[in-house]
């Protein structure tokens, strides 16, 4: 063909051009790669805080606008209020300073038990065993207030889950539940919060589900709520039957989630939409 001899120089020119362009494209790519390598240690995990709007972030940051602080204040009052047949207050045994770091470490193995116990369980145990008072109802205001007060002492600390080897089987159980499809929608936790986190679900950003701020003040609830309530919320969302309130599955999930969020900064009481 006539065109072929005239085409070959243009082809070589094209190749040369591509070569140059490739180099041009490659250079920033190399820079980006080295930058990414330098940043490899940087944490890519996102707290739900980072996915909310500026107004809500401000609400959480301002201690006189964050409604969770009302519960912290109430918890502080309850902390020194004697209760039960033993007529003991929390501060008769515990110092507030000792509560620093508790929320970022729990759940831990129960002292004389073979199961992990979360902060809620620990407070309820103290309430019935040591104070000999009537047990707190699940998600009751006073229970949440005490949890919020204790959790607030750990604000700003990195999550440092207990390294007790006895927790391992429970962490694994939690991971199994996390990855198991459930409910009529047949979804696992991981399918939303690992595989599709950051994308939208009905206009709402799917969070990565790190328990960095519990108990949280959720505007939808118009109340403070625990991680357990949030887990139940998701279970209902996938049309699964939520585990009963006392079920060990919640604690196992919490052990797994706290490990997953290891090193992230604790920010309770959080505000969430």
């Amino acid at each position: 063909m006539k065109a072929s001899p005239s085409k070959s120089p243009s082809l070589s020119m094209l190749r040369e051009l591509i070569g140059r362009q490739a180099a041009l494209v490659l250079l920033p790519a190399i820079f980006a790669a080295s930058f990414a390598l330098a940043q490899a240690g940087a944490d890519k995990r996102r707290s739900g805080y980072q996915d909310m709007g500026a107004a809500l972030q401000k609400m959480q940051d301002d201690d006189t606008a964050n409604p969770g602080m009302l519960f912290v204040q109430l918890g502080q009052q309850l902390w020194s209020k004697p209760a039960g047949a033993a007529n003991k207050a929390c501060d008769d045994c515990h110092s507030v300073a000792d509560m620093k770091g508790v929320s970022v470490r729990y759940p831990v193995m129960a002292k004389d038990g073979d199961k992990p116990i979360d902060l809620e369980g620990r407070i309820r145990l103290c309430r019935t065993a040591n104070q000999q008072a009537e047990p707190f109802a699940p998600e009751s205001r006073d229970l949440l207030s005490l949890m919020a007060f204790v959790a607030n002492q750990s604000r700003g600390l990195p999550i440092t889950p207990s390294d007790d080897p006895q927790l391992t089987p429970f962490r694994e159980q939690g991971a199994t539940i996390w990855g198991r499809r459930q409910g009529q929608l047949n979804l696992s936790c991981a399918m939303c919060h690992d595989d599709n986190a950051g994308k939208k679900l009905a206009g709402v950003t799917i969070p990565e589900a790190h328990p960095t701020a519990y108990p949280i003040y959720r505007l939808e609830w118009q109340a403070l709520g625990s991680l357990k309530r949030r887990l139940r919320n998701c279970l209902v969302g996938v049309r699964a039957e939520a585990y009963p309130y006392e079920a060990s599955e919640y604690v196992a999930l919490e052990v797994f989630l706290m490990d997953r969020a290891k090193g992230m900064i604790f920010e309770s009481p959080g505000v969430r939409p």
């Binding site: 201690d63 006189t64 606008a65 409604p67 009302l70 519960f71 204040q73 109430l74 009052q77 109340a223």
Partner: protein, 106 residues
Amino acid sequence: MTNVLINAPKTAKKGEMIELKTLIMHPMETGFRPGTNGRLIPRNIIERFTASWNGAEILRMDFSPAIAANPFVSFFAVATESGKITFRWTGDEGFAVEESVAIDVA
């Protein structure tokens, strides 16, 4: 147990515009929601919020059932004189809470 958080400056210049922020724990039950027994939960809201500066009313606000639980109110006032700013919430079921903060105006 009253549970209120107030954010007000402790000092201000005369004539300065200051922001006053208040937050109070209250369920703000609308009266339109059925309870677990199917019957309506009786209305329990804050009906009125007032703020006064040394006894002179500077803000009066009527609340409605559509206002969310634990209401947050923020407003501005001109600092006129040193003294006491008093906030008062009154509502259903005999709800009455009063809190004061001192302010120094120079």
